[in-house]
């Protein structure tokens, strides 16, 4: 059995032990500790309470009389009107309530903002793309058309009148070019470019004759087309237009390299 320590007994004697019941049970079961505890209680009881000499009610007055002379009076604190306003418990309470309301409002507003952001994520600021000029597209399409037209005209110019092998492909190409030329004509009308319009008109007549030659392309019709081409100077006009378009395209887009 573990005996009580001196400290535990002293605590018990002064009623400060945490588990009095447990100590009492041990004292009841352990004669050795019970004897030691009884001895301690006896010793403490022997130490009399020191009785202080009696001091009657006048003692307090004597003490006051002895010290009053050396006590400076406190200076009353004069609060300003503003200071009194803030010192008031009502004002403090209202200030606290206002501060709390402000904090709640801020939290609510912040919450709403956060929610809105989640629902509608902000559109990322995108640098506006430099608007691609539409003209280059038209130019490229036109250039392509003129390139095909030039090759057709060169082929027509040097066509072997004795051979009929190329007659059918040339007619097909003329029909294809004729359709493309009509589109380019419409664009040219809107662009108000008389030089281009004139060249395309000449090309249109020539292509139409080639595509719709009665009985197909034959030496007579080809010869007739060659004369017509030379008369109008269509090939020359096409080449001038191509060189102009190429020059303009290089000037507008020095970083040329892409294709459409």
């Amino acid at each position: 059995m573990k005996h009580l320590t001196d400290e535990e007994m002293i605590e018990q004697a002064y009623g400060e032990v945490e588990s009095t019941a447990a100590v009492e049970r041990h004292l009841a079961a352990c004669p050795q500790c019970a004897d030691a505890f009884a001895e301690l209680k006896h010793d403490l009881a022997e130490v009399d309470r020191i009785q202080a000499p009696y001091r009657d009610a006048s003692y307090g007055l004597q003490v006051w009389a002895a010290i009053a002379g050396s006590l400076p009076a406190y200076r009353p604190k004069h609060r300003s009107l503003w200071g009194s306003f803030w010192a008031s418990p009502w004002t403090k309470g209202l200030s606290f309530a206002a501060l709390t309301a402000l904090l709640v409002s801020c939290a609510f507003y912040a919450g709403r903002l956060s929610e809105q952001r989640k629902m509608h994520p902000p559109i990322a600021h995108v640098e506006p793309r430099p608007q691609q000029p539409k003209q280059p597209i038209v130019v490229v399409v036109l250039d392509d058309h003129l390139d095909r037209s030039e090759r057709f005209l060169v082929e027509l110019k040097h066509a072997d009148l004795d051979s009929t092998d190329m007659a059918s492909p040339m007619r097909d190409e003329a029909r294809s070019l004729l359709a493309a030329n009509r589109i380019c004509q419409q664009k040219a009308d809107k662009a108000a470019d008389p030089e281009l319009t004139t060249a395309l008109d000449h090309l249109d007549r020539l292509l139409a004759d080639a595509a719709n030659a009665p009985g197909g392309l034959n030496p007579q019709s080809i010869s007739k087309l060659q004369n017509e081409m030379n008369a109008d100077g269509v090939l020359f006009e096409v080449r001038v237009l191509r060189s102009r378009i190429t020059r303009n395209s290089s000037a507008n887009n020095p970083q040329k390299g892409g294709t459409i």
Partner: protein, 196 residues
């Protein structure tokens, strides 16, 4: 309890009056608490003169610190602690003075540290019927802190927490001080037990 509450309210009213410039209001506090302070101061110092000095000093200190007194506290408890400190200071100063006095009387040829001899022969004390003198001697053998802790625990019925607060030490340290005091007192009073 009701009277304590009323007294507490009266104490606070008096404090407010003092801080507002009415010095005389402090007189009511002095009259109200002087006897309690004298009792504990006497038990700690062991003599009337020191106890009276400690009481006056406690009220002077209390007056100077009154602005820092928290209105939620109990003035009686607050000034009681100050009085304990003042009495403790008295005991410490007296102990130092007595030690120096013994040292002054030191034999130059005897190079030993001497302290005041509070031990009186138990037989002589018993024979002269001065049992209380033996107890007083036992109390005086304690250090100032042990003595104060023992007085507050054994005679003033203060809890360990209150003793710690009054002495400005940890409650556990206060408990240890009480233990040491009790053990020393029992050793000192052992001859008395055998004789009886």
């Amino acid at each position: 309890m009701v009277s304590n509450f009323r007294m507490d309210k009266n104490d606070h009213a008096a404090i407010q009056a003092v801080l507002a410039g009415d010095k005389e209001a402090y007189g009511t506090l002095v009259v109200r608490h002087s006897q309690t302070l004298f009792r504990v101061a006497f038990r700690i110092t062991g003599n009337e003169a020191d106890a009276e000095d400690a009481v006056q000093e406690a009220f002077l200190r209390g007056y100077r610190k009154l602005e820092g007194f928290e209105s939620r506290s109990n003035f009686g408890t607050w000034i009681y602690r100050i009085a304990v400190h003042c009495a403790l200071d008295k005991v410490r100063r007296r102990h130092i003075a007595e030690t120096l006095r013994v040292s002054d009387c030191n034999d130059p040829e005897q190079d030993q540290v001497q302290v005041a001899d509070d031990d009186a022969g138990p037989e002589r004390l018993l024979l002269s019927g001065e049992i209380s003198a033996l107890q007083t001697a036992a109390l005086q053998s304690l250090t100032a802190t042990e003595r104060t802790a023992f007085v507050l625990r054994h005679m003033e019925d203060r809890s360990t927490a209150e003793i710690g607060a009054a002495l400005g030490i940890d409650p556990n340290a206060a408990k240890q001080a009480v233990f040491r005091a009790v053990q020393k007192m029992r050793r000192r009073l052992a001859p008395l037990r055998v004789a009886t």
